[in-house]
Amino acid sequence: MKNKIRDLRTARNMTQEDLAEIIGVSRQTINAIEKGKFDPSLPTAFKMSKLFKLPIEQMFLFEE
């Protein structure tokens, strides 16, 4: 699934490590999500949504 997590993170001058710490996952997980290799769980997506103050569907682009 494509997403805008990297853009949103860098726009806030955050490192992957910073974001991982806030969300409560490992840096590797953030990296895998940003690269689109791993889709986050609903709780993680909601945490990101709350942090970036954006609805989930604006951060993650669902493709069939």
């Binding site: 409560g24 490992s26 997980t29 769980s41």
Partner: protein
């Protein structure tokens, strides 16, 4: 998060090494330490078994601390390991029962196979998500 994880890894390492140590004692003790004492041999086996249970609990504790990607990597690796262990174990057993191998099938071979398969699966799966 890292501190908590290191604490759990340390706990698992301690229980794993004590399990290995108690396994060695239970294996070699009857012959080299207590001369097949009727009480000490079953006691050593019970201690080793109990230690193994504690090792499993420590492993579960660490697993529950993993995040979603790490859990996925480990679950996929466990699935592959379980499948291969059953297939390899049965084929290995057949080789023994049909006398296609000269020596008896050893459980230690299967244990080593499981360990190496799990390690390889973890490495491959981790690279997939890098």
């Amino acid at each position: 998060m890292k501190l908590e994880r290191n604490k759990r890894i340390k706990k698992l390492a301690i229980w794993t090494w004590t399990w290995v140590a108690t396994m060695a004692i239970a294996t070699f003790g009857p012959e080299f330490i207590w001369d097949h004492h009727p009480f000490l041999t079953p006691f050593a086996i019970i201690v080793n078994f109990a230690n193994g249970i504690l090792m499993i609990l420590a492993n579960r504790d660490l697993f529950n601390h993993f995040d979603e990607l790490e859990k996925k990597i480990h679950l996929e690796s466990l699935g592959i390991t379980l499948g291969l262990a059953v297939i390899f174990g049965m084929s290995y057993s057949l080789l023994d029962t049909t006398n296609l191998i000269s020596q008896d099938a050893q459980i230690s071979i299967l244990v080593m196979f499981i360990g190496l398969t799990y390690l390889t699966s973890i490495l491959i799966n981790s690279r997939r998500y890098q």
